[in-house]
């Protein structure tokens, strides 16, 4: 679905990313981990076509991302930002409806998709409320509903990039957002998520890519990537890795 080949990126003359290869297949959820400044956000911006790479290329469904007409691209690829600075009093429903802007499939279809997205993000009860009156967690869920309406999660041709979607959320909503992202992958979508919390990544991602100073330090299943030595080396923190008592996933104990 989304593919990066020998990707390199520069920002302000400085090389931020080099030699990144990544294949994001339909139906899988990949997490990107790394320290602050490791190049996670730059990678996301490059993958979404916002930042042109200085070398290598990004392919969406086999076609260079820059070659896609912007509206068509928007129907296939959506990005959930870390936070949004919307300062105008749209209703929640209107914000979610913006996800339908790239589509021209008629009002009835829009309404159905919007209602489903509102429901999936658990914000149906807020639909008529002003966005400005929401809490941080509610706002983030509204934007999740917006990007879900944009890519129509069930269609199986869509790609969703999430940039630290859980940064400002409480425990319950962290789980909810990542569970929804998993559902999208399970329905055939491709999901890439930047995370800070190793345990959330271990629990939800099919694969993990660990970035270290602009290079891929490791890429593979959570068990392959999240080894105590490697975490010590990249993050500079001594940890112990155990098996999660409930899931087949590593549990990182600091």
């Amino acid at each position: 679905m989304l593919e990066a080949k020998a990707l390199a990126c520069a920002r302000g003359g400085e090389t931020v990313l080099t030699g990144v290869d990544l294949t994001l297949a339909a139906g899988e959820m990949v997490a990107i981990l790394g320290t602050n400044g490791a190049g996670k956000s730059t990678l996301l911006a490059t993958l979404s076509g916002e930042l042109p790479p200085s070398a290598g290329e990004v392919l969406l469904a086999g076609r260079p991302i820059s070659a896609w007409p912007s509206q068509e691209r928007a129907r296939r690829l959506a990005v959930l930002p870390q936070s949004s600075s919307l300062a105008f009093g749209f209703s929640v429903e209107e914000v979610v409806a913006m996800g339908r802007l790239p589509h021209q499939e008629g009002l009835a279809r829009d309404r159905k998709v919007i209602a489903e997205a509102l429901h999936a993000s658990d914000v149906t009860h807020l639909a008529k409320r002003s966005y400005l009156r929401l809490s941080g967690g509610e706002k983030q869920r509204v934007h999740l509903a917006r990007v879900m309406a944009q890519i129509e999660s069930g269609s199986g041709r869509s790609c969703l990039l999430l940039d630290e979607p859980t940064a400002s959320l409480d425990l319950m909503h962290q789980q909810l957002i990542l569970q929804r992202a998993c559902d999208i992958a399970a329905a055939g979508g491709a999901v890439l998520v930047v995370l800070h919390d190793l345990n959330l990544a271990a629990r939800y991602a099919d694969r993990i890519m660990l970035l270290d100073q602009g290079r891929v330090s490791a890429c593979g299943s959570p068990w392959q990537v999240l080894e105590a030595d490697r975490i010590q080396q990249v993050f500079g923190v001594t940890v112990q890795v155990e098996r999660h008592p409930l899931h087949d996933a590593p549990l990182i104990i600091i």
């Binding site: 509206q71 600075s85 919307l86 105008f88 009093g89 749209f90 209107e94 790239p102």
Partner: protein, 348 residues
């Protein structure tokens, strides 16, 4: 959704009626009050000329009708460009007057008229409005671009940098216009003072024609960006991810607002706060969706400017208050209240 749509239809109808009322009042009231029957007669007489024209008809045809048309065009365009600018700057407090676009346009117009008058002395006078509009457009464009470059940040545009840029541009504009006063002759001086105050007194069909041509382009193109403006409010990269070509959209918005504001300033001088107050009132009634905010702002802007102009004519009759003073007196306190509320919400 159904009831919301019905509500907005009702509000749009009411705004349209308000505009019609404004037009009729603007035609009827002034130094001489003209009854409705005579207004209708005069309007019919303009469309199908006949010999039997009364004094009222003459006043309508030569004074009040061009003035009313100019009022509608200026009010609607200022409100429209105000709404567009607030979307572009992602800040509900942006206004062409406050952020210096109008001052820039005034400076451009003043330079065009004074220097044009000196250098191109032999030029036929019917070209004068076009030269003025071109100067105003260029000045407005430069100012918009400057403010945009200065105020841009990831979180949208900070009011502080916007207003500071506005102060700087207004100061430069004031200084240069002041200097121009020394090289201008009496007729030019009158025009220059007129700009600083803002008024519809100089309305003529010639000016209305130039203004209407510019406004037509702005009215035709800007509303088509309503969806893009909605997306821009989410943030520039969000708009890009929603499939909008953000750079192109921004370029068009800047060009069109500069043209709209430039044409209004060239025609009627500095009339502030319309672009700030009108979209804000509309958002209170209809919400933030530009597909509604834009047409409603145009209706309300035209109506309010006409009513303000009627008041400017009536308050100290037979003398006339400059319209710009009236809109500033009403709009500036409104702006202060908005600023205080934004401050309380930590939003400045």
């Amino acid at each position: 959704m159904g009831s919301a749509r019905r509500l907005s239809a009702v509000i749009m109808t009411l705004l349209l009626l308000l505009l019609v009322a404004g037009v009729l009042l603007s035609l009827a009231l002034g130094a001489v009050a003209i009854p409705l029957g005579e207004i209708v007669q005069a309007l019919v007489g303009i469309l199908w000329p006949s010999d039997a024209e009364g004094g009222g008809s003459l006043i309508i045809e030569h004074i009040r009708l061009p003035r009313t048309l100019m009022g509608v065009l200026v009010g609607a365009t200022l409100a429209l460009t105000g709404a567009a600018m607030q979307g572009l700057f992602r800040n509900p407090l942006a206004d062409p007057g406050l952020i210096g676009v109008s001052s820039g346009a005034a400076l451009g117009a003043a330079l065009a008229i004074v220097l044009g008058g000196i250098w191109l002395a032999g030029l036929p006078s019917f070209l004068l409005p076009y030269i003025t509009v071109s100067g105003a457009f260029a000045g407005g464009l430069l100012a918009t671009w400057l403010v945009y470059r200065l105020g841009q940040s990831v979180q949208g545009t900070s009011v502080a940098s916007m207003l500071l840029a506005g102060i700087a541009i207004a100061a430069i504009s004031g200084a240069v216009i002041g200097l121009l006063g020394y090289v201008a002759d009496d007729a030019m001086l009158r025009i220059l003072t007129f700009w600083n105050l803002g008024s519809l007194t100089n309305a003529s069909y010639e000016r209305v024609g130039v203004l209407a041509a510019c406004c037509a382009l702005v009215w035709w193109r800007l509303p088509r960006q309503a969806k893009a403006l909605n997306a821009l409010l989410l943030g520039e990269s969000e708009a890009r991810h929603l499939g909008f070509e953000v750079e192109r959209v921004k370029r068009e918005l800047i060009l069109l607002t500069a043209l709209g504001v430039g044409a209004c300033v060239a025609a009627a001088g500095l009339i502030g706060f319309v672009g700030l107050v009108v979209p804000h009132l509309v958002r209170l009634m209809l919400g933030a969706d530009h597909r509604q905010v834009i047409p409603a702002s145009m209706l309300l802007g035209g109506a309010l400017l006409l009513l303000a102009d009627v008041a400017a004519r009536m308050l100290i009759a037979p003398a006339e208050l400059p319209l710009g003073i009236l809109t500033a007196a009403l709009g500036a306190p409104f702006f202060l209240v908005m600023l205080m509320r934004a401050q309380r919400h930590g939003g400045v």
